[in-house]
């Protein structure tokens, strides 16, 4: 076809496409805009506006059974007593949550309470200025919480609290009892994870803290004051080719152990308890200076403190704390000498009947946070085989 016809076609085509399309598009846009406005103005928009009005408070947690326990024993009674709704959110890991908090609309807007893990996390939030100050007189149930657990927090926030300790646990060593005897595990301790016989059947968490901690234990050092970092890096380099998989979540950990893909790995005590409850042959070893940690309910800056304190009190009710402990398999922060614990809780790995937490080594937040960037990056390289 000649150029002339193409031009003619061009013009004709464009005339009708533009005419037809604009009309169609216009109609479509109007209806979409209407729908969108309706939705934003509808139930979803309503919820957002209500939050601003202070009629609700937001709690972010780990979801699943824990959320169910909270809902039944804390949130629902709280809403019944005060009329304030608890809006729940979930996160899969601490870092994603912190990223969202850091990127969120400033104070009091979106995030209020969170079930944080680790004292170092508490420290991170404080350093970033996201903390608040709790009026402890308004939380009477606080008297049941172990002093030993509140001490590290007070140390960071000048004697005050921005969170209430909620539960604790340990990252010990899980091993398959069919393939590794209890005696062998207890004899080797941390060195079990470097056992040449287990090459290709070992696992570990991807987290830099845990791995460096255990390498420190293996090289006979105090994890909170490592003198010979080179030895630690060498130990990790030695271990890397023997590791089948650096898992990234509780689900993966449980799956790897249950399916016998790996026979030994560092592991969170609660997950091991869950596996044992399901009948899998997994043993839990808590070596000397086992990596212990605690979780808290943190109150972020800008939250309505009166509401938050009231809710915290509900959450610290023994009934609620015990239900949560049974659900997620981590012992509660309530002092067992003051609040009687059921058998199920007493049997949990990492449970301390004295309530003093003597012999539990917690990570020193300033030490570890200070080295974060440098060690995390170096760990990344070693993990990748560099």
């Amino acid at each position: 076809m000649a150029r002339k016809t193409e031009d003619h076609l061009d013009r004709a085509y464009e005339k009708f496409t533009s005419g037809a399309m604009s009309r169609r598009e216009f109609v479509r846009l109007i209806s979409i805009a209407g729908a969108a406005a309706g939705l934003v103005g509808g139930p979803f928009g309503y919820m957002t506006r209500r939050a601003w009005a202070g009629q609700s408070i937001r709690f972010d947690g780990w979801g699943g059974v824990v959320s169910e326990a909270f809902r039944k024993y804390a949130f629902d009674p709280f809403t019944k007593a005060t009329g304030i709704k608890v809006v729940e959110g979930e996160f899969g890991d601490m870092d994603t949550y912190l990223t969202r908090v850091k990127a969120s609309f400033p104070p009091g807007g979106e995030f209020n309470l969170a079930h944080l893990s680790g004292v170092f996390d508490y420290a991170r939030y404080v350093k970033l200025g996201f903390n608040s100050v709790l009026d402890e007189t308004k939380i009477p149930n606080l008297k049941n919480v172990m002093e030993a657990m509140m001490k590290p927090y007070r140390a960071i926030t000048n004697g005050k609290l921005s969170a209430v300790p909620y539960d604790y646990g340990q990252t010990g060593i899980a091993y398959n009892t069919k393939h590794i005897s209890k005696e062998k595990a207890e004899k080797l301790g941390a060195a079990l994870l470097w056992d040449k016989d287990l090459k290709g059947k070992l696992g570990s968490w991807g987290d830099w803290r845990t791995n460096i901690w255990y390498a420190a234990l293996k090289t006979g050092q105090n994890p909170n004051n490592i003198k010979d970092m080179k030895a630690v890096w060498n130990a990790l380099r030695e271990q890397q080719p023997m590791i089948k998989k650096y898992w990234g979540s509780g689900a993966e950990l449980m799956s790897l152990l249950a399916n016998e893909e790996i026979y030994a790995t560092v592991a969170w005590s609660g997950r091991v308890a869950a596996l044992q409850a399901q009948g899998h042959p997994i043993g839990f070893l808590s070596p000397n200076n086992c990596y212990s940690w605690q979780e808290c309910i943190f109150v972020l800056k800008g939250t309505d403190m009166a509401v938050a304190q009231k809710l915290l009190n509900f959450m610290l009710e023994p009934k609620c704390a015990i239900a949560v402990a049974e659900g997620q398999k981590y012992p509660s922060s309530l002092d067992p000498t003051k609040v009687p614990m059921p058998e199920a809780v007493k049997k949990l790995p990492a449970f301390d009947p004295t309530g003093k937490l003597k012999g539990y080594l917690f990570a020193d937040p300033n030490y570890w946070n200070g080295h974060q960037v440098e060690w995390a990056e170096k760990w990344d390289r070693i993990k990748a085989g560099a």
């Binding site: 994603t96 893909e261 990344d380």
Partner: protein, 286 residues
Amino acid sequence: MKDKRWKVWAMLAPSLSAVFLLMVVPVCFVIVYSFWLRAPSGADIPAFQFGNYAKFFQDFFYPGIMLRTIRVALETVALCLVMGYIPAYFFYRTESRFKPFLILLVMLPFWISFIIRTLSWINILGDTGLINHVLMRLGVISEPLPMLYNEGAVLLGLIQYLLPFMILNIYVTLEGIDRSLVEAAKSLGCTEWQAFREVTLPLSLPGVSGGCLLVFVLTAGTYLPPMILGGPRNEMIANLIFKRVIGTLDWPFGSAISVILLTLLVIIIYTYNRYLGINQLLKNLR
């Protein structure tokens, strides 16, 4: 002429404004962030320095991950092409009553969450998974084959995710080919294969290249298959960004890596559009 220009912009306006607001501007934020510094607490300090970029290139580690990502992306494209062209051709030529249904079936895997699908590969490839179970039962092997946590597993997961994109892209283009052209070729004496080679194949190229581009770009940005199915040495660039932005809260460095990745992809796509793109092919076909 002026009239024509106005109409064009009206058609482009909604897309352009959405992308501009929700992508271009935020990406500008990222670019700005890449020059900032990270405070020890994790907060960000406005600055203008190239330290983050220097850190990326200071040794071979980070560029190595980038190269690995590109390599894996190319492998994925090649595999998807080989595995995807024929099914697309099948859909085009089949006269089965179930044709629309079969095509829908290709997209079906997406209805199961990606995480679930990827995790279920573990049930198939794992030491106690289906394949090893069957092979050991049959006595073919005595020790389980390590099929997981290596590059092969990651590729498998990637292909499973991306193959439908390739197939549908090619199929949609094939559908648009004028069948009378093929008939004409055959009536002139071509065999089935020759007709395909001379007529159908060249005309299907827009779909092929569109599919290849899409698969390449998507692979370059994924982090879930390497995270779930890969071993320690299979990490890709998006995993790195994930770890820096979320793990270490090092937004400046994470932004710098993103900018580098983005630049690379922009160059590739722009070159594609210029030399192989839809418009270019259109001109060649005339």
